[in-house]
Symmetry: C2
């Protein structure tokens, strides 16, 4: 087994070290992770400046990997295209400090790294512990190991990865593992408007979470009920259900438009 | 009508000015756009540094708007939460220089701005002209105006926006407007590995596009055939088709796992 580990909290974050230690007896591990925290980078990639890679080794506890001055998606691309001699069997992104639930997965660097892996066709997981102040990655690491063992045995439809959220709760309060759909999250009071010492306005993005859809079957509901949430995610954003509807209204109206734009030519 | 305009090429880019001029007789326009190019930022948002906003006005041709030191998604959030007194009727992101087709929409700042608008529940469009060297935004602007007029009349399922790509072709070579699904794009030779004057390695991300799925009905096929492509996009990434499958294999195996983790408590 060969596993590629990455994250968006940076190579020094405890979550990725927890993954190393839970997997080191089971697989050959390759760590390619941002050199510092890159949360909320979404699926950004770095095309306007060069990427640099630095090999890091820690003696106690043992850990080594490549630190990249880029985003989580950059890290996965560099690992697969340049740094690894052989392809991985699984790609794991995390363990993220803080939940990645519902609409928030769109902003998540952790999730985008797993998505990049799935785009390349590899089995992938994104793993997060809910709770920004968590220091305990043990349960999330054990859950990740369990899911990877299952994944290797059962396989997963290609172009799909698993987004895993583990509640920041004592183990006896964990009620099970639920397979979920993404709920919907919005934020209130998103911007904190301030004035700097020179009298200029600036904004901090923050906000209080408001769960708009925490209904039956959602990842948010599962976490609220003390379940570990596993959501299968794909990256085809097409809304197939309305293709026909849009096609219909464009079918009726596009002819006069097309005639018009051709008449305008040369003006 | 009130329209919010944004982009990822920055407030000085010709594409957003072309949108201004095609819409100024039809709607009240608000421009909130990055202060410089932010392409390939994906759906990143800025949470680790403060955002600043600067009002810009150009006399000839007339144009004004707010420049933000952030991503396209930041711009939409700031516009809706802080800068606009009343909500927009439509949000338009573009006109982007270069296609946003297939898998590439995941990396696109242009598309993420429209998606942010859709998350807030507003009708939204992302518009791109294929061809990195295009200087003609006229046809794309006219197409955007046509689609917005249609959108106002016909409406669009909530949580969905339109991703529009206009071929960089003479008008007489445009064969129509096709409603499409996202195709699949991959790149070859993604990294250009170089050595700096101090002997250190660095990488430029680049690569040659390889259309993996340019099949019937895809956006890529439409563009290749001289069609304007309109793809309805939503932001629910759940892969509903495999929820049951994953549920099945976790249903069988989670009980022993849960018993195990509880036994380990306190160790």
């Amino acid at each position: 087994m060969r596993i590629l580990l990455t994250n968006d909290d940076g190579i020094h974050a405890p979550g990725i070290h927890a993954l190393w230690h839970i997997f080191e007896d089971w697989a050959e591990l390759f760590v390619v992770a941002p050199d510092s925290e890159r949360s909320a980078t979404g699926h950004g990639i770095t095309v306007h400046q060069p990427l640099r890679v630095e090999k890091l080794t820690f003696a106690k506890p043992h850990f080594h990997g490549w630190a990249v001055n880029g985003t989580p998606a950059d890290c996965v691309k560099l690992a697969l295209e340049e740094l690894m001699d052989d392809p991985p069997d699984i790609i794991i992104s995390g363990i993220n400090r803080g939940a990645n639930l519902g609409t928030d997965v769109l902003y998540s660097g952790t999730v985008s790294a797993a998505m990049e892996g799935a785009i390349y066709g590899f089995p992938a997981l994104a793993v997060s512990v809910t709770g920004w102040k968590t220091t305990d990655y043990g349960l999330a690491a054990e859950t990740t190991r369990f899911l990877c063992e299952q994944l290797v045995e059962k396989g997963l439809t290609s172009e799909t990865f698993l987004n895993v959220n583990v509640p920041d709760l004592p183990r006896e309060q964990i009620h099970g593992i639920g397979v979920t759909k993404l709920g919907s999250r919005r934020y209130q009071n998103i911007f904190d408007k301030r004035t700097d010492p020179r009298g200029r306005t600036y904004y901090w993005m923050a906000g209080e979470v408001k769960d708009v859809d925490a209904g039956e079957g959602t990842d948010i509901r599962a976490i609220n009920e003390g379940m570990i949430s596993v959501t299968p995610i794909h990256f085809d954003l097409t809304n197939y259900t309305i293709i026909q509807e849009v096609d219909q209204w464009l079918g009726e109206t596009q002819r006069p438009f097309l005639e018009l734009i051709k008449k305008r030519e040369g003006t």
